[in-house]
C-alpha cells in the first residue's frame, strides 16, 4: 500500500476522537481518511515502551502541534491506547499527536483558555515555535552583518527594541491559533488537500466560462492601472514565465515528467530568432533575414525537435534520472551558448534582434520598446495556448497522459503507447518554450545569463506553486510569484528580497502543497494517493517514509 493511511474512519477505534471532531462526515464514508503522515508510521517502534503510548484518534488530521511527534511521551494515553488494533496507517495517523488530549474527550472538556489547557506541553511547544519564528523574523528584517563578526548582526537584531513587536506578534499569533476555536478542525481542513466530492472531479468540463471572462477582462485592464515599470515586469517576468509555465505544465503536470532543464528550449527559441532575423546579432546568421513573426513556426519546430532529440534516448529513464539528465541538458545548452563566441557571440549576447512587426496591406505596426503592446500580444498567445491545451487535456492524448501519470504500467498494459506519448508531451512543452524564446529575443537584448539553471528551477516552482496540471493555476502561479518579487523590489533591500521570497514558498507549500489553483483531476489524484491508491504524480509515491 502507499502511504500509511488505512481506512481509519470506520474501522479504527476512533470512538473518543469523533465527538470532539468538528465533523468530516463524508470522510469515513469514502474511506479516504486523511491521516497520512509518516507521523503515521509509528513512533517508538524500536522501543516497546513508546509503542504503548500510541493513541488512535480516528481521523485526526495533522496539526502543527504534531511537531511534538516522536514525543509520544506526552501522548497520553487517552482511553484508546489500544490503537494498534487498526492498520499501521491508522495507528500512525494518530500516534504522534499527543496533544490536547483531554480536550477531545466528550464529557470532560475544559474551555480552551483554561490554564491547564492553555499550557499543555504541546501548546507551550507551539508557543516556543512561534517565538522562534518571531526571533527569526527579527533577524531577517534586522541589520546586515559581515563575516568578521558573523553573528553580531543577528544578535543586534535580537536585542533591538523592535524585538518586542515581534514577540508580541508571536504570542498573538499563538493565541489566535490556540484559542481560535476548533484548532484541530481548522488545521486539518487547511492541511488536507482541498477535496471536492468525486462527482465534481468529473463534472463540468469547460469550467465556468463567466469566471474565465472576468479573469480575462482583469488581465486586459490590469496593466493600465500600473506604472510602466510594472508593465515591463508583467511582460518580462509574469507573461514570459506564464507562457513557459504553461508549456512545462504539459511535461510535468500532464505527463508527470520532471524536467529541470526546461529553459534550454527557451534559449533555442531565442537564438533561433537571432539567427534568422538579424545579420548582426550573432556572428553566425542566416543568409537571409526574416521578420521575427516568421521565426515563430521555425522556433516551434526547432525546439520541439530538440525536445524529441533529448527525450528519445532519455525518456526511458525513471523520474529522478530524467530530472538530472534534463538538468544537465539545460547546463550544456547554457555553457555552449556562453562559450561558442564565434557562433552565438558568447557572453556578449545577441544585440540587435529586430522587434516584431507586421507589414500587411492596411496594417503596418512595429512593436517598440514599450512593454504594453508586448503584453497584449503575450496575453493573446497565452489565452490561445490555454484554450488549445484545454482541448488537448480532454482529448484522447490528454487522457492517455493522465493514465501514464497515474499508473504507467497499467496504462501500458491497456495499450497506451507510453513512450511515444511522453515524447509528444516533451515536444509540445519544448515548442511552447521555444515560442516564448522568440518573443523574448525580439523584445530585448539577451545573453546566456538569461538561461541559467535557476531560471529552470523557477519555472518549475511557478508550475507547482500555481497548481500542477491546472492551466489557470500555473498562470496564477506566475502572477503571484513574480508579482511578489516585483512587490518586494521596493519594499525591502534588494539583497534581502529572496529571503522573503523563499519563506513565502515554504509556507505556501506547507499549507497548500497542491498549489494555488489545483486542477480538479489532480485534486482527485492527490486524494487517491492519500487513500493509498496510485501516486500523486508519475514520479512515484509521496515520500511519506513508506511506499509500495
Amino acid at each position: 500500500m502507499t502511504g500509511p493511511s488505512g481506512p481509519s474512519g470506520p474501522s479504527g477505534p476512533s470512538g473518543p476522537g469523533i465527538p470532539g471532531q468538528p465533523t468530516f462526515p463524508s470522510r469515513g464514508g469514502t474511506g479516504a481518511g486523511p491521516g497520512p503522515g509518516p507521523g503515521g508510521v509509528d513512533p517508538g517502534a524500536l522501543d516497546p515502551g513508546e509503542t504503548l503510548a500510541l493513541t488512535t484518534r480516528g481521523t485526526a488530521g495533522p496539526s502543527p502541534s504534531r511537531r511534538a511527534s516522536l514525543g509520544s511521551g506526552d501522548a497520553p494515553s487517552s482511553d484508546s491506547a489500544t490503537g494498534q488494533a487498526g492498520s499501521p496507517g491508522s495507528v500512525g495517523s494518530a500516534g504522534s499527536v499527543g496533544v490536547t488530549s483531554g480536550g477531545w474527550e466528550p464529557g470532560n472538556r475544559r474551555p480552551p483558555w483554561h490554564p491547564a489547557e492553555l499550557f499543555s506541553p504541546a501548546r507551550l511547544r507551539l508557543l516556543g515555535v512561534m517565538v522562534l519564528v518571531g526571533l527569526l523574523a527579527a533577524v531577517v528584517t534586522g541589520r546586515t552583518g559581515n563575516s568578521d563578526k558573523p553573528l553580531q548582526a543577528a544578535w543586534d537584531s535580537i536585542v533591538d527594541p523592535r524585538i518586542v513587536l515581534f514577540l508580541v506578534l508571536a504570542v498573538a499569533l499563538w493565541l489566535v491559533v490556540v484559542l481560535g476555536g476548533e484548532l484541530r478542525a481548522l488545521v486539518t481542513r487547511l492541511a488536507t488537500p482541498v477535496r471536492a466530492p468525486f462527482a465534481t472531479a468529473y463534472g463540468r468540463r469547460g469550467g465556468p466560462i463567466g469566471l474565465n471572462l472576468v479573469l480575462l477582462a482583469v488581465a486586459i485592464i490590469a496593466p493600465l492601472l500600473f506604472s510602466t515599470a510594472a508593465q515591463q515586469s508583467m511582460v518580462n517576468d509574469i507573461g514570459i514565465y506564464a507562457l513557459l509555465a504553461l508549456g512545462l505544465n504539459v511535461v510535468v503536470g500532464y505527463a508527470g515528467l520532471l524536467d529541470l532543464g526546461y529553459i534550454a528550449f527557451f534559449a533555442i527559441g531565442a537564438y533561433a530568432t537571432a539567427y534568422f532575423s538579424s545579420q548582426t546579432a550573432m556572428p553566425w546568421h542566416a543568409p537571409f533575414t526574416l521578420n521575427p513573426f516568421f521565426v515563430f513556426p521555425i522556433a516551434l519546430i526547432l525546439a520541439g525537435l530538440a525536445g524529441v532529440i533529448l527525450g528519445a534516448p532519455t525518456l526511458r529513464l525513471r523520474g529522478d534520472y530524467l530530472a538530472i539528465v534534463t538538468l544537465g541538458f539545460g547546463e550544456i545548452i547554457q555553457i555552449v551558448a556562453n562559450n561558442a563566441d564565434s557562433i552565438t557571440n558568447g557572453a556578449r549576447g545577441a544585440f540587435g534582434v529586430p522587434h516584431l512587426s507586421i507589414h500587411l496591406p492596411g496594417i503596418d505596426y512595429t512593436w517598440g520598446i514599450e512593454p504594453l503592446p508586448y503584453y497584449y500580444l503575450l496575453l493573446a498567445i497565452i489565452v490561445l495556448v490555454m484554450i488549445a491545451f484545454g482541448r488537448l487535456e480532454r482529448s484522447r492524448i490528454g487522457r492517455s497522459w493522465a493514465a501514464i501519470r497515474e499508473d504507467e504500467i497499467a496504462a501500458e498494459a491497456t495499450g497506451v503507447a507510453t513512450l511515444r506519448l511522453k515524447l509528444l508531451a516533451f515536444a509540445i512543452g519544448a515548442s511552447v518554450s521555444g515560442f516564448a524564446g522568440v518573443l523574448f529575443a525580439s523584445k530585448q537584448f539577451f545573453n546566456p545569463q538569461s538561461f541559467s539553471l535557476q531560471a529552470s528551477f523557477f519555472v518549475v516552482a511557478v508550475v507547482i506553486f500555481g497548481g500542477l496540471g491546472s492551466r489557470l493555476g500555473v498562470v496564477v502561479g506566475a502572477v503571484v510569484l513574480q508579482g511578489l518579487a516585483f512587490y518586494l523590489r521596493d519594499k525591502v533591500q534588494p539583497a534581502d528580497r529572496y529571503i522573503y521570497f523563499g519563506a513565502v514558498i515554504v509556507v505556501m507549500m506547507i499549507f497548500r502543497p497542491q498549489g494555488l489553483v489545483p486542477s480538479r483531476r489532480r485534486r482527485r489524484e492527490i486524494e487517491l494517493s492519500e487513500a493509498g491508491i496510485g501516486g500523486a504524480d508519475a514520479l512515484g509515491p509521496a515520500p511519506t517514509g513508506a511506499r509500495p
Partner: protein
C-alpha cells in the same frame, strides 16, 4: 469561518514583518533647511551572485551623497533611489523603467554590467535620462547608438593594450597564459589583451573557466604549460581562489589581473602570502593606496560601517560627484534634458581619473596604472606609459 483566523494571522504577521522591513531599509533621508532636493537613481547588481560588486558601487554613491548633503555650501540635497537589475538582461528593462517612471530622477548612475546595460539603455535613450555607468567596460557599448550612455571607466580595449605593453615590455614575459572567466567582462578583456600580446611576439595560451571555487585542476593545467605570466580576466573573488590554488602547487610565474580584481578583498581572500607580488592593472587610480584619496576612504568607511572601498566604489563615487558638479552649474534649471546636455561638457577631477568625455560618451584619457601587492597591501607602481619608457 474555517481557516480564516490562522490565515489572517499569517497575513497580519507577514504584513507587519514586511512593513517593519520597509521602515528598516528606508531610514535616514532628512531634507530640511530649505535646500532643493535633487533625486538621482542607481541601477546595479544588488542581488544574485555578483551583488558584492553592486554594493561596492552603491556604497561609493552613498558616500558621495552623504558628503554633498553634509556640505553646507552646497545649494541642494541629493536623494538616492536604488533599483536592482541583478546584473542580468532580463531584469534590466524593469529596473531601468522603475527609475524612468519616477519623474523626479534627473540622472542615473549605472547600469553596471554590460549585459544589463545593453538591455536597459534603449529605454534610457527613449526617455532622455542620462545614465553614467561606473563599470560597464564592453567596448561596443558606445557604438550601439545609445544617446544617453556615458561611462567613467575606460573600455576593455584601453586596458587590454596597456596591460599587454606592460606584460611584454616591463615584465618581459615570453609566454603568457590568458585565462578569462567567460563573463561579458572577462572575455572582453582577454579579447583585447591577446591580439596585442601576439602582436608583440608573445606566445599566448588561452583558456576560459566559468567562475567556480575549485581551481585545483586548472592550476595543474596552468603550471603544465609553464608560462612566464598568467593574466586573469575576471573578478577578485575567483582570482583569490586561483592564486591560492596556484601557490599551493608552487607556481612561480607572475600573476596579473585587471580592474575587476583591484580590491583589497583580493588580498584578504587569497591570504597575504599567496597574493604577495601579484600585479593588477587598472585604468583608474586606486583609492585605497592613493594618499590623495584618503579623505574619500575615510568618509566611505564612516558612511558604510567601516567597510573599505572595493572594485567600482571609486568610479561610482566619481560619477556621483561629477553629476553634482553639473547640478551646481545648472543652478535652478535641473531637468533630465538640461542635465543630459550639460553632462557632455563636464570636467571634474575625480579620485580615479579626470572625468571628461568624448562625444560618444567614452571617458577621455587612457592612463592605465599598474599595482602590485606588497606586504599584504595593494600599492601603486605607476602609470604604464611612464613605466615602459623608463
Amino acid at each position: 469561518m474555517g481557516r480564516r483566523p490562522l490565515l489572517g494571522a499569517i497575513a497580519l504577521a507577514t504584513a507587519v514583518t514586511l512593513s517593519a522591513a520597509a521602515c528598516g531599509s528606508s531610514g535616514g533621508d532628512s531634507s530640511s533647511d530649505g535646500k532643493k532636493t535633487i533625486t538621482i537613481g542607481f541601477q546595479g547588481v544588488l542581488s544574485g551572485d555578483n551583488q558584492q560588486l553592486g554594493l561596492n558601487a552603491l556604497y561609493g554613491m552613498r558616500t558621495a551623497v552623504s558628503e554633498i548633503n553634509a556640505d553646507p555650501s552646497s545649494t541642494f540635497e541629493l536623494k538616492l533611489v536604488e533599483s536592482d537589475d541583478a546584473g542580468s538582461p532580463d531584469q534590466g528593462p524593469t529596473a531601468a523603467q522603475k527609475l524612468i517612471d519616477n519623474d523626479k530622477i534627473v540622472a542615473v548612475v549605472g547600469p553596471m554590467f554590460s549585459g544589463a546595460t545593453k538591455a536597459s539603455e534603449p529605454a534610457y535613450t527613449q526617455a532622455g535620462l542620462l545614465s553614467v555607468s561606473p563599470s560597464a567596460t564592453n567596448p561596443a557599448l558606445t557604438t550601439l547608438g545609445f544617446k544617453t550612455f556615458y561611462r567613467v571607466i575606460a573600455p576593455d580595449t584601453v586596458q587590454g593594450k596597456a596591460a599587454a605593453d606592460y606584460v611584454a615590455g616591463v615584465l618581459k614575459a615570453k609566454k603568457v597564459y590568458s585565462l578569462d572567466d567567460k563573463s561579458d567582462y572577462g572575455t572582453g578583456l582577454s579579447g583585447a589583451l591577446e591580439p596585442e600580446l601576439k602582436a608583440k611576439g608573445v606566445e599566448v595560451v588561452h583558456d576560459g573557466i566559468n567562475p567556480t571555487k575549485d581551481y585545483t585542476s586548472e592550476a595543474t593545467k596552468i603550471i603544465a604549460s609553464s608560462p612566464d605570466a598568467l593574466y586573469y580576466s575576471g573578478y577578485y573573488a575567483e582570482l583569490a581562489l586561483l592564486t591560492k590554488a596556484l601557490k599551493d602547487k608552487g607556481f612561480t610565474g607572475k600573476i596579473i589581473s585587471g580592474d575587476g580584481s583591484l580590491d583589497p578583498q583580493y588580498v584578504a581572500q587569497a591570504g597575504a602570502t599567496a597574493a604577495e607580488g601579484s600585479y593588477l592593472t587598472c585604468p583608474c587610480g586606486d583609492a585605497n593606496s592613493d594618499p590623495k584619496a584618503a579623505p574619500f576612504v575615510a568618509s566611505y568607511k564612516k558612511v558604510n560601517n567601516g567597510v573599505k572601498p572595493g572594485t567600482y566604489s571609486g568610479e561610482a563615487y566619481d560619477a556621483t560627484k561629477a553629476l553634482a558638479t553639473v547640478f551646481k552649474q545648472l543652478g535652478s534649471d535641473v531637468s533630465r534634458d538640461s542635465v543630459l546636455k550639460a553632462f557632455a561638457g563636464v570636467n571634474y577631477q575625480g579620485i580615479t581619473k579626470t572625468i571628461s568625455f568624448e562625444t560618444n560618451g567614452e571617458v577621455k584619457g587612457s592612463n592605465v596604472y599598474v599595482y602590485q601587492v606588497k606586504n599584504g597591501a595593494i600599492t601603486v607602481l605607476g602609470n604604464i606609459a611612464d613605466l615602459i619608457k623608463s
